[in-house]
């Protein structure tokens, strides 16, 4: 448990239990000179901003890029995006806290989203999720390594029950698959290659070449 980065007050959430300081001025758009933004991140955010007629549209791609660098939407990540996009940190936090894939607390390095919506749960996703949580706790590194989450419908009910492991869809999963899944993940190999969605043929017989 101690491996997770925590704030001084012991919480994983930055200051939610602190009284609001009414004397303090709201955070402004950070001064570019005062922030050190990794050049690759800055370049990516600027590229996204150029894609749209309105720079605010780049918010989601920019936050996702910052999350890839920092592991989560940390105050530092938010400040860096704010600095490049010329928006306030509060605006970015409001967006980050709305979307499921943007993490507002420190999480494990690898994301494992287990779909527990209706089709998957009819096929046993709840047991799968419970087993995965338990297995993750026994992993060396535990929570710092894995971010196991029960997720809403991931749009792959044909391979139910399924999970998205670092963005790669695998299924149908059984409890017997979990050791190999975790092994593959730890070793940095492609996860359960023969069960990946990319390999799956269309169910409709008319789809055959």
């Amino acid at each position: 448990m101690n491996s997770i980065p925590r704030f001084e007050h012991g919480s994983r959430v930055p200051g939610w239990d602190q009284p609001v300081d009414l004397e303090k001025d709201p955070a402004e758009i950070p001064d570019p000179a005062s922030r050190d933004v990794p050049p690759a991140l800055r370049e990516e955010i600027e590229r996204h901003m150029a894609d749209y007629p309105e720079r605010h549209s780049a918010t989601l791609p920019a936050l996702a890029a910052a999350q890839r660098v920092h592991g989560w939407c940390s105050p530092e990540a938010i400040e860096q995006v704010a600095c490049v996009m010329r928006v306030t940190p509060a605006y970015l936090e409001s967006v980050a806290s709305f979307y499921d894939m943007l993490e507002t607390t420190p999480v494990g390095r690898h994301s494992v989203y287990v779909c527990t919506n209706i089709s998957c749960s009819l096929c046993g996703a709840d047991e799968l999720y419970a087993a995965l949580v338990e297995a993750a706790e026994q992993q060396p590194g535990g929570e710092a390594e894995l971010n196991v989450r029960a997720f809403e419908c991931l749009g792959a009910c044909d391979i139910a029950p399924m999970a998205s492991v670092d963005g790669v869809y695998v299924g149908p999963l059984t409890l017997a698959d979990l050791p190999q899944l975790l092994d593959d993940l730890r070793a940095g190999r492609p996860v359960l290659p023969e069960k990946q969605l990319a390999q799956r043929a269309c169910a409709d017989p008319g789809g055959r070449p």
Binding site: D51, Y52, P53, E54, H56, S57, A58, T59, L60, P61, L63, A64, S94, V95, F98, Y99, D100, M101, L102, Y113, N117, I118, S119, S121, L122, C123, F151, E152, C153, L154, G155, A156, C157, D158, A160, S164, G167, V168, Y169, L197, A198, A201, C202, A203, D204, G206, G207, R208, P209
Partner: protein, 434 residues
């Protein structure tokens, strides 16, 4: 007849080379040789109805866009998040060029110059495939300035979401695309007049736009001959849950639902029976085994008290308690409610709490009345239909499986040692109400 899924597993179909060899982008050349009004007439003549959920006529939607030289936008809704739906995923993954071609043709008909594909963030593989296909299409001059010397220009960007069901709602999607929280907007004004960046915006589903090249190729009139009168063409149906062969199937609209569930998807596992099924994603009111012979098209399903929605059939067999199904549905909508409108935010939350009471044995049969009335008060009282999307299936479950709910309440109360007091408590409550 397979239009979208025709030999879709052919290796390399995601590349421009194979797609063109099979006749891809011929429809685009044909469309660009016509006047935009003629393309629009083909779309209207095809009778194609939107495949995302609402089933609104695609041609009409295009015609609602004002004429004139202002900046107009086309947004492809690829935020496929309706539980049970996974058809767009297969299309984007295996034949991305068909979608791109459809977008360019639709933009020509609608006179839009900027377009976006809003794809849900979880579909990383599909977004990467689309990006690669888009790069190829740009190189070949199908997307960009002065497409194939026609004078029509179009920019196209693949925009990745970050995980929010509500961003599949068209105005929520627009807010999200503008970089905000995905809160739906008040309608009217409809997006066709005031949408993205306040400009006129055409929003269509992936499947709808992917069908456009076929319509141009075979002609709107020919396309309209497929299916039934009010629901023309073919439809991709995602079948999942308790069936032996879950997956996407392309059907002609109007065939009996039983044929899809039993003949195509293999029906429920050996020895089990269909208890209920969602005909159009988890937002559609459930139908029972007795209603398996309803024709699968927009109007027949509406007449049966449900809807075709996104074309996602979820089959639940008799081994599953209806309470579990209701709980999953309600919890999903509680999690995904954006919180902007009170009936939806509170209604979804209280429905979950009441369902939990049933399971823990604290509920009385009266709770079913309250729960049903909560559903009635959600419907039609919010900016978008997310709340309705929970209220309709939950309401239908209470109506159609009332006996099972009551039995569940009784057994749970017995387990808790409250069983025998139920009757007297009811009488007391009735007195209090007076």
């Amino acid at each position: 007849m397979k239009l979208l899924f025709d030999r879709i597993d052919e290796p390399g179909l995601a590349t421009r080379e194979v797609y063109e060899r099979r006749g891809g982008y011929a429809a685009l050349r044909k469309a660009l040789a016509m006047e935009p009004e003629q393309v629009l007439a083909q779309l209207e003549g095809s009778g194609l109805r939107g495949r995302g959920g609402a089933g609104f006529s695609m041609g009409k939607k295009v015609s609602f866009l004002p004429k004139g030289s202002m900046e107009k936008y086309l947004v492809c809704n690829a935020d496929e998040s309706e539980p049970g739906t996974f058809k767009d995923r297969e299309l984007m993954q295996k034949t991305p060029h068909m979608l791109i071609e459809g977008i360019v043709i639709a933009s020509y008909a609608a006179g839009t110059s900027r377009s976006f594909i809003y794809i849900r963030g979880e579909y990383e593989l599909q977004a990467d495939i689309l990006d690669a296909a888009l790069a190829e299409a740009r190189m070949a001059g199908y997307v960009g300035e002065d497409i194939l010397d026609s004078g029509h220009s179009l920019s196209l960007i693949v925009h990745r979401g970050a995980g929010a069901y509500i961003c599949g709602e068209e105005t929520g999607l627009l807010d999200s695309l503008e970089g905000k929280r995905g809160n739906p907007r008040l309608k009217p004004p409809f997006p066709a007049l005031q949408g993205l960046y306040q400009g006129p915006t055409l929003i269509n589903n992936v499947e709808t736009l992917s069908t456009v090249p076929t319509i141009i190729e075979m002609g709107g009139e020919e396309y309209a001959k497929l299916g039934v009168e009010t629901s023309t063409g073919t439809k991709l149906v995602s079948v999942s849950g308790h069936v032996q062969r879950p997956g996407n199937y392309e059907i002609e609209l109007g065939i009996p639902s039983r044929e899809i569930i039993y003949d195509l998807a293999g029906g429920p596992p050996e020895g089990r029976e269909v208890k209920c099924w969602f005909p159009g994603g988890s937002s559609a009111p459930v139908l029972t085994a007795a209603e398996l012979d309803v024709a699968y098209d927009f109007n027949s399903l509406a007449k049966a008290g449900s809807m075709l929605g996104s074309g996602a059939i979820i089959v639940v067999d008799d081994s599953t308690p209806i309470l579990d199904v209701a709980m999953k549905v309600a919890k999903f909508y509680r999690h995904e409610s954006c919180g902007k409108c009170t009936p939806c935010r509170e209604g979804t939350n209280w429905t979950v709490k009441m369902l939990e009471r049933i399971d823990s044995g604290e509920a009385t049969p009266m709770d079913l009345e309250i729960m049903a009335s909560v559903q009635e008060h959600i419907i039609g009282n919010c900016l978008c239909v997310l709340g309705d999307a929970m209220a309709m299936p939950i309401g239908s479950m209470i109506a159609k499986f009332r006996g099972e709910f009551e039995a569940h309440i009784e057994t749970a109360r017995m387990r808790r040692g409250l069983g025998e007091h139920a009757a007297s408590e009811l009488a007391l409550a009735a007195q209090g109400a007076r």
